[in-house]
Amino acid sequence: MSTDVILFLGLAAVAIGAALGMLFSRNAVYSALFLILNFATVAVFYLLLGAPFIAMAQVTVYAGAIMVLFLFVIMLLGAEELRKRGKLGWQQPLALLLGFVLVAETAYLVFVRGDLVSQIVPAAADYGTPKDIGILLFDNYMLPFQVVAVLLLVAMIGAIVLTKDDRKIERKTSEEKA
């Protein structure tokens, strides 16, 4: 085994272990921290695949902003653990079975049927530089880029409207009437 494969397998073990930790932690804060570890590992995969810009975006946006938002909401609601309730009856074994079938099917498609024999060779030095991504983004993908800007604005307004305290508005309108 070459060092590349050993590196890949080690990182993959960390990524899968962190994902399983996220899935089975009782405490939601631990789940969030496991997910951050998973995102950081995937960022390293991006670096190995010659995508430094995406790796840095992953660390700042996903592992940084999004997960901080998650932790903030978990601690704000005090919802680390749900009250104990009865187990999910037949759904849990069924879900595990279906998950196993999905993995088995994918493994069959990838390793038996698929012709994904090509190897990831070390990237050329000028592949995937942030400069190239930027040129592509502002040249071919200018319209989607603008649409994403509008989407983020709408999401921001939506989040503010959803969490706004209704009672304050009612008081204000009744004051205006008086």
């Binding site: 899935l23 969030a32 938002l69």
Partner: protein, 100 residues
């Protein structure tokens, strides 16, 4: 030199763990995090094939997916906070009806 199929397999495993999280957990926040995990598995596949076919467009799509995920998380967490305000719980079994 790692075969492309290894990355595809890793991505499939991560996606399955995310799907299982949606199916077997009842905490709305954990379900949300599982959805993020599935998006991440898709992103990994995008970057892998961008590398394999030397097409940078794959990386640009990942950029868009990250932006959309950020928007989704902002709205989704606001919804969870709103549900918590009315139900005092984020157990999804307790929000199985939409009566006000």
């Amino acid at each position: 030199m790692v075969p492309v199929s290894y990355y595809v397999a890793l991505s499939a495993i991560l996606f399955t763990i995310g799907a299982l999280g949606v199916l077997i957990r009842r905490n709305a926040i954990i379900i949300f995090m599982s959805i993020e995990l599935m998006l991440n598995a898709g992103n990994l596949l995008f970057v892998t094939f961008a590398r394999s076919f030397e097409q940078l467009s794959g990386q640009v799509f990942v950029f868009f997916v990250i932006a959309v995920a950020a928007a989704e998380v902002a709205v989704g967490l606001a919804l969870i906070v709103a549900v918590f305000k009315s139900k005092q719980s984020i157990d999804i079994d307790e929000v199985s009806n939409l009566r006000g």
